[in-house]
């Protein structure tokens, strides 16, 4: 679900006011199963080529999407890439959140999250440490620091690898940042996750999404070993991509628009396509 930041912040404030203090035994630690009541088509079957609707993208990212070929995922060094934090919490697989505490003081040092699918691991530092310097490596999870505002966990993440916000070439640069809010419902059975992605290179405004998790008493978290395999005979260094203004890219856009009976311009994304009132434009 994509909508504008002002509305989300209003919702957050309202949520923070009406959500009571968590039960001591609940919190957000434990096991959570993703709920796919939002954006099911995009998240499970996967997005269609040429579908940029609802994304606040600029022309540069539009071009990256137009020239992206799914064959890229078949290149061996791309095969075992996990989802970055900017996407992973939208994916499949149970989520585990564990607390790391100082044994002496019992102060909360960090929250460790683990998503079963692709074994996406992440640390959210809760001890007030600074973010690393510019030279330090970037990771899929990024470097996250968090704190509680009331009962809402607020997280800021930097040092992300180049990632994506939609699995059809909607890329992010390694200068993207992520802000998140995690909060529970009244009986602590549902966890809501709000993510706000910013990228000075590809997004015209912060990209806000929400998704939910349902509490599990217990969950199996299987391993996720991954080793790349050569499935096509390609020359070393061959990178699948379409040329600018290629027919293939146009066909993808056209097919998507025709399948859903929407104008092509609506598929091209941009901040305006995230607004509910844009439906009126589509209907015209």
């Amino acid at each position: 679900m994509s909508f504008h930041i002002k509305k989300v912040f209003s919702g957050l404030l309202l949520g923070a006011l009406i959500v009571p203090a968590f039960q001591a035994q609940a919190g957000i630690s434990g096991y959570w199963a993703p709920i796919f009541h939002e954006d099911f088509e995009e998240r499970l079957p996967g997005p269609e080529a040429g579908d940029y609707a609802g994304l606040p993208i600029n022309d540069a990212l539009r071009l990256r999407g137009d020239t992206w070929q799914s064959g890229l995922l078949n290149v061996p060094e791309h095969q075992c890439k996990p989802h970055p934090s900017t996407y992973g919490f939208r994916g499949i697989g149970n989520l585990r959140i564990l607390e790391e505490v100082d044994e002496v003081s019992q102060d909360l040092i960090a929250l460790h999250t683990h998503i079963e699918w692709q074994a996406q691991k992440r640390v959210i530092w809760m001890d007030g440490r600074d973010h690393p310097g510019d030279i330090e490596p970037h990771t899929w999870g990024g470097f996250s620091t968090g704190h509680f505002v009331g009962d809402t966990l607020v997280v800021h993440t930097t040092h992300l690898k180049s990632g994506w916000i939609r699995r059809n070439g909607m890329a992010l640069s390694d200068e993207a940042t992520l802000d998140e809010y995690f909060f529970l419902n009244d009986d602590a059975s549902l966890l809501t996750h709000i993510s706000i992605v910013s990228d000075p290179n590809y997004l015209t405004e912060p990209f806000v999404r929400s998704n939910g998790f349902e509490w599990l008493t217990r969950a199996e978290m299987g391993p996720y070993p991954c080793r790349p395999a050569i499935e096509l005979d390609r020359e070393v260094g061959e990178i699948p991509h379409w040329m600018i203004n290629s027919n293939e890219a146009r066909i993808g856009q056209q097919e998507f628009a025709e399948r859903w009976d929407i104008p092509v311009e609506a598929t091209r994304g941009g901040a305006i396509t995230a607004l509910p009132e844009y439906i009126d434009v589509v209907r015209q």
Binding site: D134, H138, T158, N201, G237
Partner: protein
Amino acid sequence: MINKKSNSWNKATNHFHKALGACLLTSALVSGAIAQDMSDVEVKSYHVAGQVWVLTGAGGHVTVQIGDEGVLVVDTQFAETAPKILAEIERLAPGKIIRYVINTHGHGDHTGGNQIIRDAGATIVAGNEARDVTATFEPGAEVIAHENVMLMMATATPEIPFDMWPTEVYIGEQYDLYFNDEPIELLYQGRAHTNGDTIVFFRKSDVISAGDIYPTSGYPFIDESNFGHINGIIDGLNQIIRITVPREQQEGGTMVISSHGRLSDEADVVDYRDMITIIRDRVLYMIDQGMSLNEVLAAQPSRDYDGRYGNGFTSPESFITSVYNTLSE
């Protein structure tokens, strides 16, 4: 662009840009003779893995390997910052002697400190030669580079002092060292950023020092006057990808020190390689369509990457021009 760079980073970057800008204006990119006030440059170190550290400051990053036998230094930044490099090495490895300096190529922001750092070290020589050599002069650390670096520096304008040149050159594809209980491979890159590029692979520490074929801060500079070529840069990036082995989930494992920018692993190099390859393919396609350089520039074939990579030392126009020129040879 979000300006999230620290002050020290900005200062260092500005010095680098100004210094290299001066080099270009005087056609003296190879020369280390750059008069810039670098008194406020701060040299910082970061442990990469195993015995390898990276030092930042002005110019290209300096890679340092430290072990029981002494210190090996890859690239030396500028003469103005070399004393600070030495001070940081002394802090990291008190009392240890610099035995080797390796130049990844011949540009002044990577070789300007050669003489100062060489003079602070000492070469180990053996047999009768040892007595003869040490009786006549202090040889300093051994400075190793590909033969074309020597040629580049020996023919540079303005002239580069002899004491800044390499003292040992290699030819062919590879030169090996075994130092500090670690195999070290110097891998020649052919015509890439220049025609004298070396990447340095520390096999035990599992770290690659990539030199200027991999600057994460922007597009690579293809030094056409020193026989650089876009395809050599791509070949070099693919060689790095062949060497690197990531840990699980395509992260970590072999670490790669970029010349300008941040530390990387294979996935980062893959992302950069993809970008460079895609832009090269687009320009090649346009050349095949009969487009002139001006028409290619007008088509902006790198425009989807310019936001991220177009604000470094190499402008999009400069990069595309060099890609076009070298593919048109």
